[in-house]
Amino acid sequence: MVEKIETVLKHGKGFISFVVAGDPNFDKSADYIVALAEAGADVVEIGIAFSDPSADGETIMKADLRAAAAGSTTTKVFELVEKVRQRTQVPLVFLTYTNTVFTYGYEAFLAKMKQYEVQGIIMPDLPLEEQAEFVALAEKYQRSFIQLVTLKSGKRIPDIVKHASGFVYVVSSLGITGTRQNLSADAYDLITQINQLTDVPTAVGFGVSHPDQVSQFSNAQAVIVGSAIVKIIAAHPFDAEQYLQTFVKGMKAVW
């Protein structure tokens, strides 16, 4: 039985890792998701490759291209999840552009998520203004629609977190995904503000890559690491397991 995301993360010091489904191929993707879970990842985000990943930086764009070359389709991503579920009970979250879900059909997609026990979904191009239909369906299928809050969200934050489920994805810097050396201290204050508004755990992401960064977000329930993990896979496409485990353990040790 897979635990709810909220339950896993409420203890704090959570670690959420990200991979692109099919990078470098679908068999290795499954192995890496399992390896991350075994190394201590509390939640694994599974990215679905898109032709035009406009919210992503170069690292994840390239992973999308590798996944596309491996023949990624929505159906293959569900097959991957089905296999992963036979090997680990780690909570899973999809990260996908809206068009992938829309063309599949919102409800059909959520039904598959339920079937394969994918707990949540992040759609970076489905903001508050456009999400009502999907959120209602997600509730129907008991899937978490993950809300994003950014340093620019300002007075929009109360409305956004009102609909929060799973965790609140706190975007810690301006810009797109990718590793950065300097993260804004403003993010700390943003997390505090969100914690005051909701009981849903906060997870901070976008640019987290070094162990010494995570301590800056002691007020968050989790950190999200994407590009740094994708880079490890890019560097060691067919034997990344030990590097991933070393990285996750190193992050968790200081966290």
Partner: protein, 391 residues
């Protein structure tokens, strides 16, 4: 922000405040008298408006049917309708206190227009252009640089227009405070499709008056080429409530709608969510956006503005495909017949007029929106015809 079920604001949360601020500014200034006066001054004394409504007598006589009129947007400063939108958005940006314009561009026309407006307004300009396009249109890159703009080569994805749009949105998320994204077509998240329509509507506003004063009646049909659809929505807009005026958008069929070398979105596309909007797109069953093709760089886009998708659904406008071959023939035809070298984009619209005019009566009238001049296309047409040009 919706046209029927199309439109919306499908963009990252990070951009929502910026886009909302643009929407607020647009909704404020579009009815602001001082803003409108300044815009009119820019239109009249910089963009060279009003543009002519030209009776193509030779062509009308030769085809032997309807009277054909060209709305001559090619006579605008910088040579296309693009300047209308760019001046409007730059003026909004100035009112919002922005000092830097960013824009995507395909072949370079919108980039040149944006760089032009930035020069006029004393703003910075940075233009994003796919590497395929900077290679093919090196001269336009230099033209933008002459105008003081910085050109960023986009080497991600398929390295063409849609990737340039992606890159410009990304750039905007990195630097919102002083920066305004001047979107070039009637696409993207609200308010862009509405704002682009507002600024391009000057085309049909003028044309409607010109038809009444020059001919005493409205046209029977208005024909415009559609890529994203900014010149078409501008040409249609003020005629939409004239139910007797047929509105016809002409899509680029490329090598044919039964091939993959096409850009005919309404004809071959399906509903999707991309570039901030729900509309119709050429895409895989999985929602992966297709690479598309047309001889016309300005029509070579996998989507269409949301209002066009809506006008098609409700059958207020009709969307038809025209192939490369047909467009090139029309390009050559009006050069020889009227002494006008029109953009290959606009030539798609001319090609469709050539199909329907002979079956209409001499007292009927067709307006073709000549959205731009074709000097930029002469080399490509020569290549298409297999003529060796050593430049």
């Amino acid at each position: 922000g919706y046209y029927g079920e199309y439109g919306g604001q499908f963009i990252p949360e990070l951009l929502m405040p910026a886009v909302s601020a643009v929407a607020d500014a647009f909704n404020h200034y579009k009815d602001d008298a001082a803003f409108k006066d300044e815009l009119k001054d820019l239109f009249d004394n910089y963009a060279n408006r009003p543009s002519l409504l030209y009776h193509a007598k030779n062509m009308s006589k030769d085809l032997g049917g309807a009277q054909i009129y060209f709305k001559r947007e090619d006579l605008n400063h910088t040579g296309a309708h693009k300047i209308n939108n760019v001046l409007g958005q730059a003026l909004i940006a100035q009112r919002m206190g922005k000092t830097r314009l960013i824009a995507e561009t395909g072949a370079g026309q919108h980039g040149v227009a944006t760089a032009t407006a930035a020069a006029l307004f004393g703003m910075e300009a940075e233009i994003f252009m796919g590497k395929e396009d900077t290679d093919r249109q090196a001269l336009n890159v230099y033209r933008m640089e002459l105008l003081g703009a910085k050109v960023h080569v986009v080497d991600t994805g398929t390295m063409v227009l849609k990737d340039a749009v992606n890159a410009t949105f990304q750039e905007w998320t990195k630097r919102i405070d002083d920066t305004f994204y001047v979107l070039g077509s009637a696409v993207g998240p609200y308010p862009f499709p509405e704002m682009v329509k507002y600024f391009q509507s000057i085309i049909s506003e003028e044309a409607r008056e010109q038809f009444l004063s020059q001919t005493g009646k409205l046209p029977d049909a208005v024909i415009a080429a559609v890529g994203g659809g900014s010149n078409a929505i501008g040409a249609f807009s003020k005629f939409i409530s004239d139910r007797d005026v047929a509105l016809i958008g002409v899509e680029a069929a490329g090598k044919g709608i039964h091939t993959t070398q096409t850009a005919a979105t309404i004809t071959n596309g399906s509903q999707g969510i991309f570039h901030g909007m729900k509309s119709k797109f050429l895409q895989s069953p999985d929602g992966q956006i297709d690479p598309v093709y047309s001889i016309s760089a300005g029509l070579d886009y996998p989507g269409i503005g949301p209002e066009h998708a809506y006008l098609s659904d409700i059958k207020r406008a009709q969307y038809v495909p025209i192939t490369d071959d047909e467009a090139v023939q029309a390009f050559e035809y009006i050069a020889r017949t009227e002494g006008i070298i029109a953009a290959i984009e606009s030539s798609h619209a001319v090609a469709y007029a050539m199909k329907i005019a002979p079956n209409m009566k001499p007292d009927q009238q067709i307006m073709v929106n000549l959205s731009g001049r074709g000097d930029k296309d002469v080399a490509a047409i020569a290549r298409y015809k297999g003529v060796e040009i050593n430049e």
